[in-house]
Amino acid sequence: MTDTTTTSVGSGRHGGAEGTPILRARGITKSFPIGDRRLDVLHGVDIDVGRSESVALIGTSGAGKSTLLHVLGLLDSPTTGTVELDGVDAWALSKEKRASLRNLKIGFVFQFYHLLPELDAVENVLLPSMIRYGRGAYRRRKRELDTRARDLLIGFGLEERLDHRPEQLSGGERQRVALARALFHDPPLLIADEPTGNLDQATGSQVLELLFSEQKSRGLSLLMVTHDARLADRCDRTVYMRDGVVLDPSEVKDPLPVVP
């Protein structure tokens, strides 16, 4: 099941070797020390995400989905195993290089939005670019970046909210800002952990519509944890997880063990 069907939908403008998947993880294990004992959460996970492919990650609560996303998103190190991002062995890199790889290649969308409360919507969207560019380079691009950030937010229906701070925004608006931030400088891979988990049905589907249409039009790869079967259906592929292992689709009797 770890065999991947790399459906190349997009134009492939994200560079890297065309044939290789954007994300390739092998033998990922992760264990947490709990006191003097060890809690094994992931037991050797292999997973690939092809270019422009959308993958839904489904599993029981506590199966280790978030933990896996953190490892794949280069936020947490695996106990063993490798993560190749766009052909680069990410966990072999220095902290600094890995941070820059994360900045360039991955856009995150979290369940709890995770916007910086001191920054307004536009500034939150610009944050990854601020981190990416040095002082001079940012200055030179400032006008262009600013316009692009505004246009993106306006495109997401937030023209009235451009200089509002997160606390002045509703949950759906916050998540749209977070989505804009994740997409802003066109990372090839979008990682989302229950992006609608904190939103009501209607707001959630609005955000999802945006997410999918952007994913399609930009030709991004998407790896998304969800508990929603209809959502999983809209993805190219679904990966099932239970107790820290990825299940073969044939083993899955009840395709949705957890229905929210």
Binding site: F108, L119, L127, M130, I131
Partner: protein, 496 residues
């Protein structure tokens, strides 16, 4: 780019930062203000310590000479010393004086009362015979009332040699000013330019006594008024090795006030020739007072040169040093600072101690920044996680928090330095304004010796304080900044 942007944003949106900036502001401002006032006070105290000491005093040991067998006769008179002194360009004025100890008592029944009262009243008196170049002054004195009437300053200029250098007491010490200063208890002499003139009220049946001027405390202590006679008794070594006594009556011409009670209680000034006469020619002078053209510049060097030259010429006593070389006996050529060494040293120590104690304020403000930043790091854990998720490096996160500390330090130090300098400069206006506002006298000008709050802003001190505040704040910010870099982004992100 985001480091500067974010640190600035956090600085502006987190009010606690203003407490930090305020803390540094207060610390730096107070430190500059207090040290400036301390410096001012110390500078003024130094002037007060100096009192009426001349720049240099040369006192050859006239007794106990002869370790090297050189003749003592050459130092019996001040002339050779004066000659060498005036050969030096740095010497502005020099004047010999004769000092001797004695006891004094008022006349008639008052004396008996005083002597009966307590022996303590009859303390040792310093008789000081000074050179005033009186004949030369006389001519000027004649013009003095006219000058005074015209409102011209009454300054003694006579007694100068052709090269413009003076040889009288007025030019080397503050004696003239002591004579002119408004007395509190005593009575001023009629003409401060001619202090040793007998007062007009003086009547005598016998030979008229010579006039003397006393410190105002002594004069009022002995219940004397100008025109009264006073008995002076002293003892002298006689040529055969025994001791004889000498006494003489003098007429009190008036009092002087140095402002230092001890001096005003024990000094009697008279003409040097009169004192020499009282001592039967036993001594011509005891020291030569020197005023230099610029003490701060020449004082120390002049002392060294004079000591060497005088020793070479056999004008001061010397002996064999540790390595067999001839060295001058100490204390014969002294600067005024040598005479006040202990007190000046104490003042310097005090200033250093003060600076050290006040530096603790900087440590306190450093701790303020430390706790503010530590709080902020704890509070901003989630933000730190977000920053990491969008690609900030631990180093970048560390410098963001370090920059917050930097802005605190920068603003606080800048404002504090400006405030401190302004405060120290306008301290008197501030004090007056505050006194008016509160209706209390903050600086009592009658208690202190100073007419206003002295303050002396030293650029180097300001620089040191600013640099100290700045670096200590940065150092204190380093720890929370380092901890920010070590925040696990996941722990921060996982929970809402």
């Amino acid at each position: 780019m985001y480091r500067v942007f974010l640190s600035w944003r956090y600085l502006l949106t987190r009010r606690t930062n203003w407490i930090g900036v305020g803390g540094i502001f207060v610390a730096v401002g107070a430190l500059i203000l207090i040290l400036s006032i301390m410096s001012g006070f110390l500078e003024s105290s130094r002037a007060m310590l100096r009192g009426d000491l001349s720049d240099l005093a040369i006192a050859p040991s006239q007794e106990g000479r002869g370790t090297d067998g050189s003749s003592a006769s050459s130092t019996r008179t001040p002339a050779p010393l004066l000659e060498r002194l005036f050969a030096d360009e740095r010497v502005e004025a020099a004047s010999p004086r004769l000092v001797w100890y004695a006891q004094a008592a008022g006349d008639g029944r008052r004396t008996e009362r005083l002597m009966a009262g307590s022996a303590g009243d009859l303390s040792a008196i310093q008789l000081i015979g000074v050179e005033l170049r009186t004949p030369a002054l006389l001519a000027e004195a004649a013009a003095a009332p006219l000058l005074a009437a015209l409102g011209l300053p009454l300054v003694p200029t006579a007694g100068r040699s052709a090269d413009g250098r003076a040889r009288d007491e007025f030019s080397t010490t503050e004696f003239f000013h002591s004579l002119r200063r408004e007395p509190l208890r005593g009575m001023r002499v009629q003409n401060p330019l001619l202090p040793f003139e007998r007062p007009r009220s003086y009547r005598t049946d016998g030979r008229p006594a010579a006039a003397i001027v006393m410190g105002e405390s002594l004069m009022s202590g002995l219940s004397l008024v100008p025109g009264d006679e006073v008995e002076v008794v002293t003892i002298l070594p006689s040529p055969d090795g025994s001791v004889t006594s000498a006494n003489r009556r003098f007429v009190v011409a008036g009092s002087f006030r140095t402002g230092a009670h001890a001096l005003d209680l024990e000094r009697i000034y008279m003409d040097r020739a009169e004192l020499e006469d009282l001592l039967s020619g036993h001594r011509e002078y005891s020291e030569i007072l020197v005023r230099t053209k610029d003490y701060d510049e020449y004082g120390a060097a002049l002392k060294v040169d004079l000591e060497r030259d005088f020793l070479a010429a056999g004008l001061i006593a010397g002996g064999y040093g540790r390595n067999g070389e001839i060295v001058a006996f100490p204390g014969q050529v002294k600067t005024w600072e040598d005479s006040r060494q202990n007190l000046i040293g104490a003042i310097k120590n005090e200033r250093v101690l003060m600076a050290i104690m006040l530096s603790l304020i900087l440590v306190v403000s450093g701790f303020t920044i430390f706790s503010i930043l530590t709080m902020m790091v704890t509070e901003k854990r989630r933000d730190i996680g977000i920053l990491a998720a969008v690609g900030a490096t631990p180093r970048g996160i560390m410098s963001t928090f370090l920059l917050i500390g930097f802005w605190n330090a920068f603003l606080g130090t800048l404002l504090g330095a400006a405030g401190g300098i302004l405060g120290a400069t306008y301290i008197n206006d501030i004090e007056i304004w505050l006194s008016d506002l509160l209706g209390v006298t903050i600086f009592n000008r009658e208690i202190y010796y100073f007419d206003e709050i002295p303050s002396d802003v030293e650029p180097m001190t300001v620089l040191w304080i600013a640099a100290g505040a700045f670096t200590s704040t940065l150092l204190f910010s380093a720890i929370p900044a380092w901890r920010a870099a070590r925040v696990d982004p996941l722990v921060a992100l996982r929970n809402q």
